[in-house]
Symmetry: C2
DNA sequence: CTTGCATCTGTAGTTACTACAGATCGTAGA
DNA sequence: TCTACGATCTGTAGTAACTACAGATGCAAG
């Protein structure tokens, strides 16, 4: 009993992953090479569709492709993986928090520069002066 | 009276911009092609050094190369540019704020997933389950 | 059997650099 | 003046994660 097979377009719509991106994931080995029709079109199994949706969700959480590779391996094992997943998540969370910090630094600098710039009617721009040092 | 000339290494150390990056900026037209010694080594003028430091500061504020191209043009003109600079800064600031928002969304999702994962000793990982949907 | 949308492969472009390899330059010391 | 040897040179390729084609087929409905 072979399960239902899906075309790349169906899988794309179901997971909201671009067709080109799906093929890209296959090329880099993030997705397995699916079966093909006689004519050469890809035919995805339900499990493969599920894997793609896993990848999509993880991408939406900002995990990198390499991190997702690890997550997929962990998802396939049963020992110790929850701890490993937890560690990977913690690392990623820290990365995200670092980025937030950095962006907030930018935000406040930009805000103060912007304010100086707006309240100025002279020919010289304080923002530009600032950048020249 | 020709001003002092600087080697690429001196300029690199002075601005904290990688030598390869300086050549890259020249290749893409962000920096002008400097004079050369008889043997072909680059010789930067004080003004060119200043321009590179301008670029570096703007990059540190998160402006894109294309935005910096605009900023450099504006820095060279004298009409209306403060208003333009202000507009460009506002756009960039909005981008930064959008990114912060998105990262905060990620942060809170990751935090809640991480918590579930940590308080779990069962064989199945709630984080993985979650990603599979 | 034709029409026309869906897929196919393969390559190149995106952003902002970084990392070589292999050759030459420039300068301080002998 | 010759010789090291570090600094630069050019040119190309790699990074992350896609996206965008071109040109050729597949497939299903009428």
């Amino acid at each position: 009993m072979t399960g239902k097979a899906f075309s790349i377009g169906e899988v794309s719509r179901a997971t909201d992953v671009n067709i080109e991106t799906i093929r890209y994931y296959e090329r880099i080995g993030l997705m397995p090479a699916p079966d093909r029709t006689a004519g050469g079109n890809r035919q995805y199994s339900l499990e493969q569709k599920r894997q793609l949706s896993f990848i999509k969700r993880a991408r939406n959480l900002g995990f990198s492709i390499d991190q997702i590779r690890s997550l997929l391996i962990m998802a396939d094992e049963n020992e110790m993986t929850c701890r490993q997943v937890s560690a990977l998540t913690a690392t990623h969370l820290a990365d995200v928090q670092d980025k937030i910090k950095e962006l907030k630094r930018l935000e406040s600098k930009l805000q103060s520069l912007h304010q100086k710039c707006q309240s100025n009617n002279a020919p010289d721009c304080p923002m530009i002066e600032d950048l020249f040092g």
